[in-house]
Symmetry: C2
Subunit: 484 residues, 2 copies
């Protein structure tokens, strides 16, 4: 259906200002935080309530129009990249906190509510929402559900799926499905877990009920310096197998440390090859015990220096460096490619050293700043998009890193999803049998394949074409998408 | 296919002693712990390895024979009730611990490994497996996965699904699917959560990898007495909303207290109307802090007496009463019907009082002993199967209790599954749209519907026949199964 006609049909069912069809006005919606890929949707719809979402979905079902959902557009894997022939359904206007129950410790939210806004609203009750992606100021809870987002604290408090109680889902044909609830266990198949992290393939999340946690009585942060990457990596495993579950355990290498220091002067040791930030929380006496034990283990693991933040101000400064690390790296390189893979902790050292070797091979610098406790790597590959061939080299390097993760028993995503970015690596991660299962589950929800087409799960044909990938060790063909 | 032919075909692919087809020899397999329902399978197969399971599944696919899996047969909802025309696939012989990694804190298990055997094997390493259903001495991990089993400690440590890392699944057509793994997050759809608790509808679990936890350094148990059910119930909510997450929080009413005292002399106060058992664990100083705070809250909630177990021996005695409660009740009544439903904690008091009223209405006594912290009720309805009409009355009473759970926003299962027992209540719990979704997911794994047919998810036709159920308030038709 052409743009004018589709827009007109949408204006019949939505307020006039809820339909965007002008080319210039569509530009801001051309992509998400995976900025290398951009394309215009046919039309943008901005529904303000569940009924309007259902009306749009019914129209699209009737006319066979593809639908891509978009929250805040902070996604890093291109999950919200529009479909040229489809409607981009933007849920940003549905941003009300519908209910916050301090006794049951739950919050009922529209999908456009910002992640951080939940904790801000819960704070007066001594509660907060645990999953805290780096983008938490901007990202919205609907997108968090679609990507099963994590964050600095998911080591102890889990991913989005572990903090969800229920969702309302609009199906491909516009029907409302209520999934999950406040009770411990639900009979039947686990639709809530199935929908969480499904990247918009199964339906549109239009309401989310989350669990809130009591704000810990005490929190301490340790900063440990190391003069070798592998020593820092082994220290992570040592702390965890020491029986301690830190609230967060982050690692940064020299390049990341220097960039962060230049940017926000967090007080990191510039002479360190790597640092670990380890946060512990709980009851005051429990926390002191943990600080003592973690310090012992870090020292025994070869830490060249250990500092415990003296007060809230210093703790905030320690974290400021970590949280500013991505933009900080952005200041020292024209472009960077943020990777996201997960490996068993015991392989941290070998994988980091291999990435160092690959960095030399591909002739591109890498800054490492990541959730070490989870084995969730975030190598930032530095490149210059204006330098001939560097983007392609960065992508080939990235693909190689993800295959390295798979080869040690890890996965090609941690918390950023697959989207369009990693669709080819899915062929490395999964067998044809497993992919078939994904397709049949997708078909159970979306038989016509109109929801976020071309994302998250590759066709078997596509994987077949990439069949050589294993053999040739990660020289991926270039994605077939327009790029400008 | 007739019994002799099917047995012969199975003997072609299995060791002679792995096929049971003699009527008398089949009797022990006629049902599980839901003893009211029994029927003979066409043939029993006892494979000893994954390859033998695949061979059986391929034969059954070829001949269109239904397959029901059975572990230890301790299930309480009839999930392992055989199909008269099908193979009962007994996994008890596959009971080896394949791998136990104390550093990664994981155990790789065959499905027939007993729940308690995992913790016994992990104990020398200071580790244990958290989910501990009351049947943990006998029940096997494969059944735990099929039912998403909980236990006394799932309040703090979660259900089976929260302690699983991966499974190997044999599909309806005999293919091997490897699901999940050691990494934090997996791309694609969450097959692991989908399979967990799917009650044998999607495939056969032939290998399970679980997470092991460090044995807590300290554990204390508080016993609180109350002179009113609602006071005890409100105390539960008060402790949780006080920001404490006990390792376990169990409630017993007078009938259960007396039965347990007569049986094992646990040292419970016989004059109490209800008692709470509250266990806290963690670092020693943290535990002392929690014991103090829980005591305060229980006292403020009207506890008439609070005792903290002085030593491991007294703690064991406190728990002995709880763990022996079911057999203890079995001593005071010829038969009892164990219900399993879950409600939001804040409704505990009103629901328990309503159950008391219903007990008078139906003229059947009820003993309550349950996971109060989870809102997971286990009312035991006492009846005499030999007394005309009492079983039917007990079932009608039970159905009423489950609808009561749904009406306050709860669910018809906590940890026992749906099986055949609660298939009618699924029509109360779910809309046609939701049930359709379950059927399409089932079809994605088992298009011919040969895996555990007639269990867990009712047909829409069945629900339609029961359409009057809501209106008439729980006067359920009798299940159509043979009973003897």
């Amino acid at each position: 259906m052409d743009r004018a006609t589709l827009a007109a049909r949408l204006r019949d069912i939505l307020p006039a200002d809820a339909v965007v069809a002008d080319e210039e006005a569509l530009r801001p919606y051309a992509g998400d935080a995976l900025t290398a890929y951009r394309r215009l949707p046919r039309v943008v719809a901005l529904p303000g309530c569940i009924e309007e979402v259902q009306a749009v979905m019914r129209l699209c079902a009737l006319e066979g129009v593809p639908v891509v959902a978009r929250g805040a557009g902070t996604g890093l894997s291109g999950g919200a990249l529009p479909d040229e022939s489809g409607v981009l359904l933007v849920l940003a206007r549905m941003n009300r906190i519908l209910d916050l129950d301090p006794v049951a410790r739950t919050a009922r939210l529209e999908p456009g509510v910002r992640n951080l806004a939940i904790s801000e609203a819960a704070a007066p009750h001594g509660l907060y929402y645990a999953p805290d992606p780096s983008s938490q100021i901007a990202c919205s809870i609907g997108g968090n559900v679609a990507e099963n987002s994590g964050g600095v604290h998911c080591l102890k408090y889990g991913l989005t799926v572990h903090n969800l109680l229920g969702v309302k889902l609009i199906t491909a044909d516009g029907e409302l499905l209520e999934i999950g609830g406040a009770a411990l266990d639900a009979p039947g198949l686990d639709l809530l877990a199935l929908v969480t992290g499904s990247e918009g393939l199964l339906g549109l999340v239009v309401e989310v009920t989350v669990r809130l946690l009591p704000t810990p009585a005490a929190t301490r942060v340790l900063l440990a310096a190391f003069d070798a990457i592998d020593a820092a990596a082994d220290a992570v495993a040592a702390v965890i197998s020491g029986g301690i579950v830190p609230a967060g355990m982050e690692m940064m290498d020299r390049l990341a440390i220097e960039a962060a220091e230049d940017f926000v002067a967090a007080g990191y040791p510039r002479d360190a090859v790597a640092i670990l930030l380890c946060e512990v929380d709980g009851e005051p006496d429990e926390v002191e015990t943990q600080v003592a034990r973690v310090s012992e283990i870090l020292a025994a693991s070869g830490a060249t220096g250990i500092r415990v933040a003296r007060d809230a101000a210093e703790r905030a400064r320690f974290w400021a460096g970590r949280k500013a690390a991505f933009p900080a790296v952005g200041r020292i390189s024209p472009d960077y490619y943020c990777m996201d893979g997960t490996i068993p902790r015991r392989h941290l050292a070998e994988v980091l050293l291999e990435i160092e070797r690959l960095s030399a091979t591909f002739g591109l610098a890498v800054a490492n700043v990541f959730h070490a406790g989870d084995g969730n790597l975030h190598p930032l590959i530095l490149y210059d998009a204006n330098a001939e061939g560097e983007l392609d080299r960065a992508e080939a390097f990235g693909a190689r890193i993800l295959e390295l993760c798979v080869s040690v028993g890890g996965t090609i995503t941690g918390e950023h999803g697959v989207g369009i970015e990693k669709i080819d690596q899915m062929c490395v991660q999964f067998s044809a049998l497993e992919l078939e299962r994904f397709h049949s589950l997708k078909a159970a929800f979306d038989p016509d394949g109109r929801l976020n087409p071309g994302k998250a799960v590759p066709t078997l044909a596509r994987c077949a074409e990439l069949g050589g990938m294993h053999v040739h060790g990660g020289e991926l063909p270039h994605p077939e998408l327009e790029r400008f």
